[in-house]
């Protein structure tokens, strides 16, 4: 018997591109509802808790917008490197490096420097830290042909282990005996809507999404970067420096993830701890996928993922479903999104 599975790329319309993630979410919620029923919670209660957690009040909506910030910044960075055909799986590590940089500069200067200055310095430093972390992987790919997926994943672990050590050493809060964490930092993101947690980082991230869009589609740099991504042979023939483009795209991508890390520390937690990023950088890959690597489409995409993230937390808190259940629901959404993307982009024939 000859059973063959053929996978062909196809051109999908804008309509299918918008429709596919919606169908994916519906499917995930359907299966999630069945699981909830099984776990003894009414799906109606579950999902009203979920939606309430994400959009239930102005305050909760603001929290969703806050949650969307790291997804947006990292998603846009990942989109940019994807356009250059460099796959950055390392946003997680670059995010951590940015968070470390912001905490460190703040601890160093906060006793004698006003916070706005530290905040600006933290911005620049976190851009640099993330940029270097990403740039190393870019350099290794460009000059030695080492696969960036492998190096970025490895460097995620390196960054995480560095974080663990710093929190027990140089950046340790001497008052905290139980949990490894840094002291409170004074550098912060000003709140833009009083009474909520919505901070300046939100506006900055929207601005950066627009700037990235402009860079990618309106400037010669973006043109060349996309050309190198689409066809490195003709890019080389047209006189572009393909190697430098690979490195540059990883520096920008890493820099934006680093910035996300510092905004997270300064805007949300105000101290550094081990759980500063539990997989935010990996989720951002899916955020960018749903946004079709288009910086402006990643704005709604990151909003949806911010809502899912917060909704799941609230679901767990109000219904008594376990943490693992809420994580399973989250994971299911991701899997359905991935499958639907595949079905939208490729035609699969059996026989």
């Amino acid at each position: 018997m000859d059973l063959k599975i053929k996978v062909e790329e196809r051109e999908a319309s804008l309509f299918t591109f918008i429709l596919t993630p919606i169908i994916a979410f519906l499917f995930a919620f359907l299966v999630g509802g069945i699981l909830m029923e099984w776990a003894g919670v009414s799906p109606v209660d579950g999902y009203s808790a979920f939606l309430g957690g994400a959009f239930g009040s102005p305050r909760k909506l603001a929290d969703t917008l806050v949650r969307m910030v790291p997804f947006l910044l990292m998603g846009v960075g990942i989109a940019l490197s994807n356009r250059g055909n460099v796959l950055n799986i390392g946003a997680e590590g670059q995010f951590i490096m940015g968070a470390i940089a912001a905490t460190w500069i703040s601890m160093l200067l906060q006793d004698f420097t006003p916070w706005p200055i530290i905040t600006v310095l933290a911005f620049l430093l976190s851009l640099g830290a993330g940029g270097i972390w990403g740039g190393i992987a870019g350099y290794l790919k460009a000059k030695m042909g080492i696969n960036e997926v492998v190096t970025t994943v490895m460097m995620n672990w390196l960054a995480f282990k560095l974080l663990q050590w710093l929190l027990r050493g140089p950046l340790k809060n001497p008052e905290s005996e139980m949990w490894p964490m840094s002291p409170h930092i004074k550098a912060k993101m000003p709140i833009v809507i009083p009474g909520t947690r919505l901070h300046l980082g939100f506006i900055i991230s929207i601005l950066i999404a627009y700037l990235t869009y402009y860079l990618l589609f309106k400037t010669n740099m973006g043109f060349k970067l996309r050309a190198c991504g689409k066809n490195p042979f003709s890019a080389k023939y047209a006189g572009y420096n393909v190697e430098n483009m690979i490195i540059l795209s990883m520096i920008i991508s890493g820099g934006l993830a680093g910035l996300a890390g510092s905004i997270e520390v300064m805007g949300v937690h105000h101290f550094l701890y081990e759980g500063i990023s539990v997989g935010l950088g990996y989720t951002a890959i899916i955020v960018s996928l749903v946004g079709k690597d288009h910086p402006l489409a990643i704005i709604p995409s990151s909003f949806i993922f911010g809502a899912i993230y917060n909704g799941v937390v609230y679901l767990q808190a109000t219904t008594g479903l376990s943490y693992t259940f809420s994580k399973a629901l989250e994971g299911m959404i991701y899997i359905f999104v991935l499958i639907s993307e595949l079905l939208a982009r490729y035609r699969i024939r059996i026989g």
């Binding site: 060349k224 066809n231 006189g239 420096n241």
Partner: protein, 511 residues
Amino acid sequence: MRNIIKRFPGVVANDDVSIEVYPGEVLALLGENGAGKTTLMNILYGLYKPDSGEIIVSGKQVSFRSPRDAILNGIGMVHQHFMLIDDFTVVENIILGLSEFGIIIDFKTAIRRIEEISRKFGLQVDPYRKIWQLSAGEKQRVEIVKALFRNAKILILDEPTSVLTPQESEALFKTLRKFVEAGMAVIFITHKLQEVMAVADRIVVLRKGKVVGRLRREEATIPQLARMMVGREVLFKLEKKPVTPGKKALEVKGLWVMGDKGVPAVKDVSLQLRCGEILGIAGIAGNGQKELVEAIYGLRSPIKGTIKIFGYDMVRGTVRDRILRGISLIPEERIRIGIIPDFSTAENLVLEQVDFEPFSKPILGSIKKIDFEKINRYAEKLIKEFNIVTPSPSTRAANLSGGNIQRLILARELSRGSDLIIAEEPTAGLDVGATEYIRKLLLEARSNGKAVLLVSGELSEVLSLSDKVVVMYEGEIVGGFKPDTLSLEDVGLLMAGAKRMSREEVAKLWT
């Protein structure tokens, strides 16, 4: 094989081809690159399905769905590029895919049979070595043993000597004679005339997908084969105005360039080209022309030698430096290198110029804002001027036909003010109309005082367009002459490596 027809998009690779081969003979399939030899053999080996025609093996009509079917019918093929797994040993590669060795592999029996085969035919292989440790010649022997291990009665060899040293080639020919004595049939694909004369019993000559000659070796002479292989085509009358050559555009001296196989592909090449001149490089594809062009354009760095472009030393320069000095390249691999298929026609038309005024304006450092309006207007102008058939400038280049993609590339390369134009196989695979148009454009460039370096495997094209012609064979320049001063037969002999002119004779061309 009877009346085989195989079409690919835009070309007929095999046009009603019939060949037969009998046990106990070596059949040589002779032809230029692109003549359809390999396609024909890939059909016999089950890699392609013919559009029509039939294959008969040992009196029985067969239809192969995959090489597996071909192997079961006693057909073996050794490809030009080896199909071996580098990290596996010789014996592992040979038995790969054979079910008779079961899940727990019986290496002993396998090795015994391999040793039997190598003794019988004088094919030295060490079953325990890994493929990556072997030389090209050894790998080829492994491929042959692999075919024999599968009881091949008909053995196809695709350009087997291209990776061999002369001594290895000699040894291979001896082995082939042993196969024939043992009652096997051998099909030998080549474009080298001496090899045909050395090893073949019968010869079939292919040109442009058609059989143009069938003869026994005893009846054949090298000049006759050369003429058949190269052919002559009635060219449309092209108007070639007399032009007085201007300043030196390109000067290459003693250039050596490494090829992809790890041996020099360009050996000690020197040439000169002046403005208002077309210099043709003739030769069968794969004799170093591609590497020479890549070195001149900066895509491949030479081992030694000098390249001067408009008097500037450019050996170490980048592609970008050369573009700024005014060189254009019309690449042979149109779709892979010439365009970005996912970009629009307009964007493809400004690939090299997107950084320059008026198409972009600086905003911050080297970041410039692209003026898409200007690009579109420029594209519309070129589309009209060069008759590119496209629905609009924003149509993806991938949606254009082959001929229009070539027009797009020519429009781009001829319109950006370059004075040195390198055209690599500019008309290969195009229909008559597009071919004629593109030749006319090249002649026009010449009349406008531009220097044109024309690389083409099609001899009639080189001879009718060029002011001077050099012939490349195995990386060297083996001849240089003005068109019409040499007979077609002599040119064919130069191309096939059967004859060469002295350095002094070639050097006369530059004075």
